[in-house]
């Protein structure tokens, strides 16, 4: 197995005094220029804009936190922070919880694996809008799903599966679950089957082997999958509008930011809200990664020769 990281105590030979390799610097320049032009400048532009309240895009006037204060002082806007968590967290946790046993079951490969994987990847190719549109037809009050359940007398009234919190959860699950699953499957199938055999030979049941061997080894993967998935779900916009209830149940931060910028004609406020969103994501991701690093000291999948 490939060594994925070097253990903490690895001795590194003392390096000679570093000299700048101008060739490598030159090679990096195009990429660096791209990052600066496409990310750093817009980021600083946005930050500057959010700190200059007003309807102008020119960021005139004094530096001020007025936009941020306005957002947090207006319960109609700031409650979207809580709403966004309510939308993003459950579907993220659910995706992870479904992925782990599924990946455990598929870790050695199963029959029809390629077919199942293809089926899972398909939603990724469709795009948010297409998925939302299809959901409106399928899960709507008159959609096949509700009609079928009614015909089978399982339900009396149609379930509110679109234009509701449920609609957004379903849409996000369809779109983002494949990422989570494939990532966790990758980590799970990267663990040598000999570790499980060794664990059994040392008297551990399959259940104990999972918690003592497999879980600590996939934990880094689970943490990363959680972070990526959470960020994707936290920034939901098209689904929240199309299959959600953007006025209350799914009034997520991106919807509020959009309205501030384009309905209230206040791009400065909209940008500030977007920054609030970014900061929250940053805090959550940092917290998860910190927790992960506390739970396992190492993230090694393989360990040196033959392990």
């Amino acid at each position: 197995m490939v060594n994925t990281s070097i253990g903490a105590g690895t001795i590194v030979a003392a390096e000679p005094r570093r000299r700048i390799n101008w060739g490598i610097v030159l090679l990096c320049l195009p990429a660096l220029a791209f990052v600066v032009a496409m990310f750093v400048i817009p980021f600083l532009f946005g930050l500057n804009l959010s700190l200059h309240p007003g309807n102008s895009l020119d960021a005139v006037g004094d530096l001020s936190f007025a936009n941020y204060l306005q957002f947090f002082n207006d319960p109609g806007q700031s409650d979207s922070v809580w709403i966004t968590f309510q939308v993003a967290l459950p579907v993220t946790v659910f995706s992870i919880l479904i992925s782990i046993p599924l990946a455990y079951y598929m870790r050695r490969g199963i029959r029809l694996e390629r077919f199942i994987t293809t089926l899972l990847i398909l939603p990724l190719t469709l795009g948010n809008v297409m998925v939302a549109q299809s959901m409106l037809l399928y899960y709507g009050r008159q959609g096949w799903f509700n009609q079928a359940l009614q015909a089978l007398h399982i339900i009396k009234d149609p379930l509110p599966l679109v234009h509701s919190w449920w609609g957004v959860e379903i849409a996000l699950f369809i779109q983002n679950f494949p990422f989570v699953f494939l990532m966790i499957l990758g980590y799970m199938s990267g663990i040598s089957p000999d570790l499980e055999r060794a664990s059994r030979m040392l008297g551990a049941s399959a259940w104990r082997t999972f918690w003592k061997v497999i879980w600590p080894l996939i934990l880094p993967g689970v943490a990363i999958a959680f972070c990526l998935n959470f960020v994707a779900n936290f920034t939901v916009f098209p689904s929240a509008v199309m299959v959600g209830r953007p006025d209350d149940q799914t009034k997520v931060l991106s919807v509020v930011a959009f309205r501030a910028a384009y309905e209230l004609q206040n791009p400065s406020l909209g940008t500030a809200i977007a920054f609030v969103m970014g900061i929250i994501e940053f805090v959550v991701v940092s917290a998860v990664l910190y927790a992960r690093s506390r739970m396992t000291r190492t993230s090694v999948l393989g360990g040196g020769k033959g392990v």
Binding site: N3, I6, G7, A8, G9, T10, S192, D194, L195, R197, A198, S199, R200, M201, L202, G203, A204, S205, R208, K212, V213, P216, L217, T296, R297, T298, V300, L301, G302, G303, G304, K305, G306, V307
Partner: protein, 380 residues
């Protein structure tokens, strides 16, 4: 754990889909024995070991330990220890935790656990103070190997299984570990089953060697038996009888056979073949010999052959000389000599009649396919 009095495998077989990896495996091991399963890759030796461990279910047969069938007991409850070829150390646990992992599974009191961890690490010469907190990735290959053994020994298993444990080590470490494994076996008296493809490992460690071929047992015996009296051409080949000479049967004198090479040289030979010889005058068989027993200096008194020196190689104890047989250059033999010889010079060498072994001609090239096993030795 309870010491083993007797371990029996009766008619054990195992198939993977349509491929049969192990046929009718029968073996009886007395407690405290060191048994090696020896054979090339794909011969079924690891399959046999995994069946014994409980990691593979049997297709047929039974495994009896101290008169109790154990083949339906899951691996984690058999109380058998196993050391894996790639060590299979837990990369996220340090040395101490790797060793105590198994002890925790058996819910041992902490004091007993600490005692056992120290005892097991001492046994493999890993210092608890120095290495206890290291992760497997921070150990050398040899130390990882020691840890893998300590982890298994700590549980004091009734039966110890070793799956090619030395194959990832360099030559020097391998011979060191070999001695340690031997010492440990003597010290603990653990019944051990050892899988290897290295005949010298099997020879030096075992009380009993089981030579396997294409899923079947080819020969069971003490190392001396197997080495000196291989009962088939396949085993002889595995034991280093690399010199081959096609010969024709001329007659029999007591236990010795008179044979003639195709260049007309008369030789005396014997056979350790287990099957029915029943050879008649004019039958074609193959004579095999080990290079160290086909010698030019000191020259045996009888049973001599002549050839031309083609290559000379100093192998430490003697010179190993590649000789092309006179009148038939297609036949090349390796001959040992205490004296170096000139290239392209004629050389006379000989072999004791009881060390020139006759076997029926047999195709042993494709030992990897199970089909090869069903090929009956061909008499021509």
């Amino acid at each position: 754990m309870e010491k083993i009095k007797k371990l029996e495998l009766r008619g054990v077989s195992r198939s993977f889909g349509t491929t049969q990896a192990l046929y009718d495996f029968n073996l009886e091991v007395a407690g405290g024995m060191f048994v090696s399963l020896l054979g090339p890759s794909g011969c079924g030796k690891s399959t046999a070991l995994n069946c014994l461990a409980g990691l593979l279910d049997l297709t047929h047969g039974e495994i009896i330990l101290n008169d109790q069938p154990i083949h339906n007991i899951p691996a984690e409850k058999r109380g058998i220890g196993m050391v894996f070829q790639n060590y299979a150390l837990f990369p996220h646990l340090n040395v101490t935790k790797n060793v105590s992992y198994g002890l925790e599974n058996y819910k041992m009191p902490t004091s007993e656990m600490e005692r056992r961890v120290k005892w097991a690490l001492d046994l493999v010469h890993l210092d608890l103070k120095e290495f206890g907190h290291r992760l497997p990735a921070q150990l050398s290959g040899g130390q990882q190997q020691r840890l893998a053994i300590a982890r298994t020994i700590a549980l004091e298993p009734a039966l110890l299984l070793l799956d090619e444990p030395l194959s990832n080590l360099d030559t020097k470490l391998r011979s060191e570990m070999r001695i340690e494994i031997k010492n440990m076996h003597r010290h603990l008296g653990l019944t051990t089953v050892y899988v290897t493809h290295d005949q010298s490992e099997a020879m030096s460690l075992s009380d009993l060697v089981v030579v396997m071929r294409a899923g079947r047992i080819e020969q069971i015996g003490t190392p001396q038996d197997i080495y000196n009296c291989p009962n088939s051409l396949y085993v002889a080949d595995f034991m280093g009888y690399s010199n081959r000479l096609p010969v024709e049967i001329m007659g029999q004198e007591g236990s010795e056979w008179l044979v003639q090479t195709d260049t007309g040289v008369m030789l005396r030979a014997s056979t350790t073949y287990a099957g029915n010889t029943g050879w008649q005058k004019g039958d074609h068989v193959v004579a095999v010999a080990r290079p160290d027993e086909m010698v030019a200096d000191p020259l045996p008194e009888t049973n001599r052959l002549k050839g031309t020196v083609h290559l000379v190689d100093y192998v430490g104890k003697a010179f190993e000389i590649l000789v092309r047989l006179d009148n038939n250059e297609a036949i090349q033999l390796l001959v040992w000599s205490q004296q170096p010889t000139e290239l392209e010079h004629p050389l006379t060498f000989g072999i004791r009649p009881n060390r020139l072994l006759l076997f029926p001609t047999e195709n042993i090239v494709s030992t990897h396919s199970p089909k090869a096993a069903s090929l009956k030795p061909v008499m021509s």
